[in-house]
Every structure is written in C-alpha cells, then in structure tokens.
Symmetry: C4
Subunit: 228 residues, 4 copies
C-alpha cells in the first residue's frame, strides 16, 4: 500500500513518467514495447515504473505501477516491467539516483554487441558524460546480475549511462527527466561516434579538456546552474 | 462466399489488419504499396489480406479482401496482394500460424541480398527469435516456391521470421499482431546487428544463455505470461 | 498563354503535382527547396513544374507554373525550377514520358558521387527497374547537357531512373505519380543495396530471373494489370 | 535596454528565430536542448538568441533573449545560450553576417571528430558552399576561442559552414534563415558524402565546374536572383 503521505507525489510521478516514455518514442530509442523509465518516490522506499509489455500508445498515468525497493508490486493493476529488478537494485544501492531508464537504442546496442565502450571524441559527450561511456558485463535477466552490473560499472564513474554487453543501455540521473536526457544523449553520441569511426580513426579530446568541459557543463549550462 | 458464421469475425479481422498495416508504416518497414499483413479466419479455411498495389493511406477495412487457403478471392472488390499465394501456402502447411507479414524492410533485406542469416548478438533477439534469424532460398514469385521456402525454413525453427534471399522478410505468429511484432523486431535487430558488425566482430551470446532468454521471454514477459 | 482547351487539365495537374511534392517530403527524398516534380499536359506542348526555390510548405497548386517544351514560362507568377530545361528536354525527346522527377535523395546521390550504377540484388529492384539503375554523365546545369544525359542513358533502357554523376536522380514515368513512385523506389533500393554491400559482396539475381520478375510486375501487379 | 527604435524589429526577429529553431528539429539537426539560432538586429549592436537549456517545445518568441555584441544579456528573463560568446564574436568580426546557427548534427559532427573537411563531390555542395566545407580548430568553450576559430576559418572562404573539430557545425548567412539553410544543407551533404565514401573513393568535381555551379546558384537560383 502507498502511504497516505506519498499519494500526491506518486500521482505526479505517474503523470511525469508516463509522459517521459513519450520522449523515448520521439527520439526513436524504442520499438514496440521495449524500454522503460522509472522514478524514485522521494522520501519513501518506492518507485514508479512502466508495466510489462504495454504499448506506448496505451501508457497513461494510470497504467504506471508502483513497486518497493525489492521490486515487488505495491500498487497498480498491471505486472511491472520485466526489468524492474534491475531498477530496484540501482535504487537500493545508489541513494543519489532518482530516475533510471533502460532502452535497446540502436547505436548504443551496437557498441554493446561488440563489447566496446564508446570513446570520447565529441565535446557534447565530454559535457554530458565526462569521458567514455563504459561497458558493463553480460548479465542474464532473472536475478540481481543486471542491477549489480550497472551499479558496479557506474559507481564512482562520471558517466550517467552504461552499455550492458549484448543488451542495451541503462542510464541514471537525479530524477527521471535527467535519466531520460542521458539516454537520449547516449544514443546521439553513440551514433555520431560510430559514424565518425566508419571512415577512419577518431581524434580523441585531450583528458584535461574533457575535464574542463564536464566541469563547466555541470555547473554553468542551463537556466539555474543546476544540471538539467 | 463467406459463411454466415464467419461474417462477424471477418469484419473484425478486416478492421484489425487494416490498422496493423499502419504499424508497418509507423516503423518505416514499407514504402509506397510494398508489404502486406494477413490474418487467418479461425475455424474457417479463409484469411484476410491487403489488396494489391493499394496505398497505405487508402487502406480501409473495406479494402481488405478475403481469400481461401488456395489464395483464391472469396470476398472483396479488389485483387488480392501479389504475395497471396505465399501467405496461403503458409496457412495450409502451418496450422499453428494465425498471421503472416511480408516486408522489404531495409536492413533485413540487406542481409538477404548477401544471403546471410542474422547472427544472435543481442538479448532482444534471443528473447523474440531464440537465436539467429534464418535465410530462406531465392524463389521466384508466381508459384508455390516462396511459400515452400518459408515453411521449409521456419518449420521446427524457433524464429518467427525468415529472410528470403534477395527479397525481404516473411514473419509469422499465432495472430496478425504477433506477426507484425516479429516483423518490427526483425528489422530492429537486423539494423543493430548490422551496425555493430560494421566496426568489428560481434561478441556472440553463449547458446545456453540464448535458450534461457528465449524461454523466459516466451513465458514471463508481458501481462499474462502469454506471448505478445 | 494556356489554350482554352487545356485549362481544365492544367488545373488538375497543378493540384496533382503540388500534392505529389508532398510524397517527396514524406519519403525524405528532399531537404529545404531541392527536388521537383513535373507533368506533361497531354495533347499540348506544355508541362507543369515546381517554381524555383519555393519551400514545400508553401507549394500550393497556384504556385505551380506552366512551361512550354522549350522550358519557357507560359503561365504562373513565379520563376520555374532551375531544372526546367532538363525536364523540357526529356518531354521533347521522349514522347512516352508524362512525368519527370528530380531529387538529391541521399543514397542514390551517394552512388552517383562514386560514379557507380546500382547493381540488382533485390527482387523489388528487378520488379520496378528491370535490372541495374544506370549512371548518366556528369553534366553542368545551364544548357541541354543534363537533359541529353538523361535521355541518352534511359533511351531503350528498362530503368525509369538514372543517377546523374555527382548530382542526384532523375526519374520518369507515363505520368507524374509513376515518376514519383520510381524516385521513391530508387532511393529505397539504393539504400538497401548500399547497406547490403557494406558487409560483403552482394549475391546477384540471375538475369533470367530479373527478366521474369520485371515482366510479371509490369503486367500483373496492382488492381488493373496496368503499371502503377 | 533595447532602444525604442529597435523594439519592433526585435519583436519580429524573436518570432522568426523562435520559428527557425523548429527547422532544426524538423530536419533532425538537434536533440534535447542542443543547438541554437541567432539573428543580428540590423542597425544596432544587438542580436537575438536562444536561451540556454530550454526545450524546443517551450521555445516561444518571448523566451528568445537579446544580447549586445559582447554577448551580455540586454533583454529577456532567461540566461542566453552557452554558445552566446561565439555568436557575438562572429557578429563583431563579420559585419556581413546577419544570422548564425550552431548544431551538433550527426554526420557533420562525425567528420569533425576525425578532423576532416568534407570534400566536394556533389553539385548541391558546389551550389551552396562553393567547394569543401572547411575544418576549424579544436577550441574550448568559455572564452573567444570558438568565435575566433569560426571567423579565421570562414573569413575569405566561400563556405557558409565550418566544422569545429570534435564539436559540431557553425553556419552563417546574411540573415538567420540563410544560416539555417546552410546548417540544413551542410548536414545533408555531410551525410551523402559520408555514405558515398563508405564503399569506395569519391569522384571529385573539377574545380572550374565547382566555380561555375557556385556562381550560377548564387545569382540565378530562386525567385529573385537573390541568394535564398
């Protein structure tokens, strides 16, 4: 059951997360029912997430389900996403994370199918990810392997996205919108970097320039200085 | 003539199949009038299918035609798809199939023009297809060659899609929606796998992991445990 | 001046040609104001064509101009397309042609920038083009060089499209819609064939199969047996 | 403060620049909030530009801000784009420039990540850019390095676009619409030329043909002979 004190924020997050799935569609990161967004309920051991196998056209706020941090269904009429255990693991082990996104976006998945991290040759990538986007292990769905792979790869890393080998992308952020932005930017730089390397070697960005770009973007970009 | 007892279900299938062609357009699997979806009429030796050479904009439920399992027109004012014989052959020889889709989708057709099956290096492909997507023979339109090629390749295979050499894709499913999903997923993994291999060798997924992923997806994914 | 007897058909063709430009946009064959469609006025030495440098959003039937077969403006308030001379040359020398389309569509232009015809490794290409799509010469705009290059390449060829070296595509048909279809199919097979060849050699379709496919498609496909 | 005499034109430019950002979205040149358009206020040391980190969906005319030629905010409630210093530098040093556009469009960025100019093998590129699209230096955001790199590369060059190494594209024009057109055409030829070179060497266009094409397009194309 959702505690009385959480009901209003849960309603808002259901609306927000339903709408954010539309961004995955808009940017072409998902096909059919693949891909999912979740958001932690601040101050509660709960998160909201997409139900399993539901079409994006049918994804109203009402369809979004609520789970506890063990991934068990707390509220909602549908079964939670089959990736719920991975989201739950991230929320349990990374208290700073408020949103998680999973996609099989084309170019990022392609890097993952060769088990290669994405090298940093574009300033937009230095800005958002602070360097290469790392590769996580191959992990089978069904237990905590995927969640553990995500957390072990991203802990202490600047990158907000990880390529899970032979699988796709998980991205994180302080809230669900930031995690969606990371998913969008990850595919964008995965694509540009792939295309660049098709015709010859990349020119890498020197590490101190990467550091300076990352630092500036995290602190100066946007309307408030806050990361968005 | 459509038997009285089939009329209601035929009307429903015409609506459904007309709408499902919209998914081929949405996912960019077809251009101009190429591509077609059909659905078996359960309990009758009939199926509904797209008429030949009709634009997707004009594809109302009324335009969808009804054929018998020899591919002969039973109801409708337009000539059936030029691929009708292939659909009919599949329905005659694969009683478990309730829907068939044919497209020339770009990446799948590209694998077929090199006469290569698509290797399995992505979990989404293990989930949906249970391994590689196989290659069928080159077959000329006009007799049962295409239908026979589809059935011989898919019989006893886990994959719901076959690349017909130098041609395109046929996909099957328990109903038309599942066959459309297979067509969409086939192009998606054909694209990601192509892009992955452009920059180096793929890392294959070990066979027992493929088996486990396929098994789980067929039984656990979605809202009912039923494959969708 | 438009002869009285031609006014009604000119009005219809203006509507039709304005609408057909929308197909170039829908299939991604054009950016900004590049690309143009024209249609012969049957029984008159006239054709209608896009005005020069006008945005597709602003392309109403009223904006379409009428030219004679020397490419001189006969009716309309705007200057005709800068490719008008090439269209006019085709109409003067190929009486069977009722529509002409020009685009810089991406994949077709890419083949043209390497001065390579597109080989025939897909049945859809055999159907529509009856074999490879040929390469025309490099020709500078400003005189009859482009028109001559188109006519010399397509005369006696089955293909309804020609890649003009370092430039783009011209396609023809018995009417403007058929020429637009050829432009759409040309880009589609240019893309699939390009992607196929990225990862290895193509498997060619044997010539007698190409002949049989072309013959069948021209005579059997669609609702009337007429080519569409 | 905006001088009284500039208020009307500033209002018009805000409308125009807000709308022109929609063209960046339409042609797929930008994702999320990346990319920006600015326009000089004729006769005043001012320009209008996109605010920093604002979504394209929220980009009304009211959101567009006004800066002086040092890049300082003169009017508007939001912080100006983080690329404002580069735009300002261009306006200070290139008096003929009335519009500036910046994007990370995919194919152009890919050439920049290999530090390669785009060679001229397509007539559309000769028309618009008069030859290759040049490469500017790697430059860190935060001072005048980017602006200086743009101006030093484009001064005395025919091209209206420059690839900034490891970064993206800046394009210029007599007004903002022309600069947006240059950004659109830059990505279009970056893509076609990339794809052409994937399968073999390009056939270059002879220099005197490039000169003739550029000259003709600048003087004859469109409705007025004026460049558009």
């Amino acid at each position: 059951m959702i505690p009385e004190s959480a009901k209003e924020v849960v309603d808002e997050l259901r609306e927000q997360v339903a709408a954010l799935h539309g961004e995955l569609v808009r940017y072409g990161l998902v096909v059919w029912t693949a891909g999912n967004v979740s958001a932690r309920v601040p101050g509660h051991d709960l998160f909201v997430i997409k139900p399993s196998g539901v079409s994006y056209d049918d994804l109203t706020a009402d369809a979004i389900v609520v789970c506890d941090l063990d991934g068990e269904l707390v509220d909602g009429e549908l079964s939670p996403s089959s990736d719920t255990a991975a989201h739950a693991y991230v929320y349990r082990h990374m208290p700073e994370v408020g949103g998680v996104v999973h996609t099989h976006s084309t170019y990022a998945s392609a890097w993952s199918a060769r088990a290669e991290p994405i090298p940093c040759a574009l300033t937009a990538m230095a800005d958002e990810f602070g360097g290469p986007i790392p590769l996580g292990p191959f992990a089978r769905i069904g237990d905590d392997s995927i969640g553990r792979g995500i957390v072990e790869t991203l802990a202490g890393h600047r990158s907000r996205a990880v390529l899970m080998q032979n699988h796709g992308v998980f991205s994180i952020g302080p809230d669900a919108k930031a995690a969606v932005k990371a998913a969008v930017m990850c595919e964008d730089v995965a694509r540009s970097t792939h295309i660049a390397r098709q015709l010859g070697p990349l020119v890498p960005i020197p590490p101190d320039d990467v550091d300076a770009l990352f630092d500036r973007y995290q602190n100066v970009y946007g309307q408030t200085g806050a990361r968005r």
